[in-house]
């Protein structure tokens, strides 16, 4: 693992499925911005495999639903369209992994929490929000 990543990754091993997958993503401002919906592994057959990115979004989640309901949902959501219904967060953006995955950047820059960012000005119009 690259040295500059946060101390939570100093442990010798980290169980990706157990401790990273489905964990809450939090940006540098402490804003919740989705969950680790999937991981991108890069490498070739017979060679080293490296975690290169976190994948987020409905397009990514649809692929994780098993069986026929999964295929039906995938037809509705469509294939992962990077930048639209799927986002790729490079692994270098990961600051720390504790009970949540802390990211270095802001949600907006990373393309995360798009729903909240879009709806926030609308909700802000209502008094008392």
């Amino acid at each position: 693992m690259p040295e500059h990543v946060g101390h939570g990754l100093d442990e010798d091993r980290i169980d990706l499925a157990y401790r990273v997958l489905d964990d809450q993503l939090v940006d540098v401002d402490g804003r919740r911005c989705g969950k680790v919906d999937d991981l991108e592994l890069t490498g070739g057959p017979g060679g080293p495999l490296e975690v290169t990115a976190i994948l987020v979004g409905p397009g990514v989640r649809a692929a994780r639903i098993a069986g026929r309901p999964g295929r039906w949902w995938q037809r509705r959501v469509g294939p992962p369209r990077w930048g639209a219904n799927a986002r790729r967060v490079p692994w270098e953006q990961v600051e720390d992994i504790t009970s949540r995955v802390a990211l270095r950047g802001q949600a907006e820059d990373l393309g995360l929490a798009a729903g909240d960012l879009e709806l926030s000005p609308l909700v802000a119009r209502i008094p008392g929000s």
Partner: protein, 406 residues
């Protein structure tokens, strides 16, 4: 000293907020039909919610993760999604029943059309959640809910048959399917999962940490323990007033009547106000629970401690729950019927939400030294078996007894 006062006030609010329309309906009906015989089921149910809430509160305090955050982690995505859908259906049914209940109690107080009060109730609750902070909501509804102690007074006023009470506290098996339907109903009404979604999210809202674990335990033991007394009082009052005379409680008016008989007009008003607070508070808890669940499953920003504009999808979700519940209540379904279905279906979905919490609560990787000790482990597993048993038998019994109609 101030900290102790805060803790005490929190527990008191928890007591007042313990009952909802499901408890009111099932405990009064059980008392009217079976007298004191189902008191043991109240204890089983309250102990169950205590175990479940303590574990989920502890998990939330230590890992900062409430129930639905944990569910996706431990069950995997597909099973977690199934659980989410099932839980949200039950939450919606629950909010619908509670909104209907609010409308009925308002009718009993002010005689105007049901639809008007359903609308006022839903809108009023939306405004309350919008304006008040999390702690404020819990305190207001919790304190007014304490008025339901009028039923404890009513039970004592008539002088309960203490030997029969004692007998009722001992579990008994009967061959009647109606009996077992009510066993499940009374236990399930106490074990409503929305309370746990709400409680664990509340623990994160109030920034609990490992130092709050003692408060967690106190809340559960004292708060729910005294809450059990309230539930039992309802059953005892019905056993005293309705079982001998053959009254069959099928509306909330009958619940309030049980306080009017000993204490006249004052008793009636106190009961109706207490019911309004308990049912209204439950509507709030269940709709927030619906929003918590969805947001926590998908990773959205959530929480009443956030401004509405900082957690817009979460906010829109709980507003939609209340509006959808209002729409369903307007279809003319009897809120008491909806209550019975929401309680029965919630126990069917309960194993799916209970198991992941149990698994995380005992997992040292997540919990460190705060993982389940001996008591929690034993009770945790016993209740898992019990809950699965309830879940499997609930719907057959619902069909066999025609939802308690006999």
């Amino acid at each position: 000293m101030k900290a102790l006062l805060q803790i005490a006030l929190g527990i008191i609010a928890a007591i007042g907020g313990f009952l909802d329309i499901g408890d009111l309906v099932f405990n009064i009906q059980a008392g009217a039909i079976f007298g004191y015989d189902l008191l043991w089921a109240v204890l089983v149910g309250v102990l169950g919610i205590g175990v479940y809430a303590e574990m989920s509160g502890r998990v939330a305090a230590v890992t900062k993760r409430p129930v639905f955050d944990v569910i996706r982690e431990r069950l995997g995505f597909t099973a977690g999604l199934v659980t989410l859908v099932a839980s949200q259906v039950v939450n919606l049914l629950t909010v619908t029943a509670e909104i209907g209940g609010v409308a009925i109690v308002l009718q009993l107080l002010f005689d105007a059309p049901f639809s008007l009060f359903a609308l006022l109730g839903a809108l009023g609750l939306i405004v309350v959640i919008w304006v008040l902070p999390f702690g404020g909501i819990e305190r207001v509804f919790g304190y007014v809910g304490l008025l339901l102690f009028v039923f404890v007074a009513a039970a004592l006023h008539h002088g309960p048959d203490w030997s029969a009470v004692g007998g009722g506290l001992v579990p008994e098996a009967k061959s009647s399917s109606l009996y077992w339907y009510f066993v499940i109903g009374v236990i399930a009404a106490a074990l409503m999962p929305y309370e746990v979604y709400f409680y664990s999210s509340g623990a994160v809202e109030e920034r609990w940490g490992p130092k709050d674990l003692r408060v967690n335990r106190l809340n559960v033991v004292v708060g729910y323990g005294v809450g059990a007394v309230l539930s039992m009082a309802l059953m005892i009052v019905a056993a005293q007033l309705y079982e001998p005379t053959g009254v069959d409680p099928s509306s909330l008016g009958t619940v309030a009547l049980a306080a009017q008989i000993p204490f006249g007009e004052i008793g009636l008003l106190v009961a109706l106000l207490g019911m309004l607070a308990a049912i209204g508070g439950a509507a709030i808890d269940a709709s927030l629970a619906g929003a918590y669940n969805l947001a926590q499953f998908l990773g959205w920003e959530w929480g009443k401690y956030r401004r509405a504009r900082d957690a817009p999808r979460f906010t829109i979700t709980w507003v939609c729950f209340l509006l959808a519940a209002f729409a369903l209540a307007m279809t003319g379904v009897d809120p008491v019927d909806v209550t019975e279905y929401s309680v029965v279906f919630s126990v069917v979905a309960l194993p799916l939400t209970y198991l992941p919490v149990l698994l995380i609560a005992r997992d040292r990787t997540f919990m460190g030294e705060h993982a389940n000790g001996r008591i929690a482990t034993t009770l945790g597993w016993i209740y898992l078996v019990l809950i699965v048993g309830l879940a499997v038998t609930a719907i057959p019994l619902l069909l066999a007894t025609n939802a308690g109609g006999g």
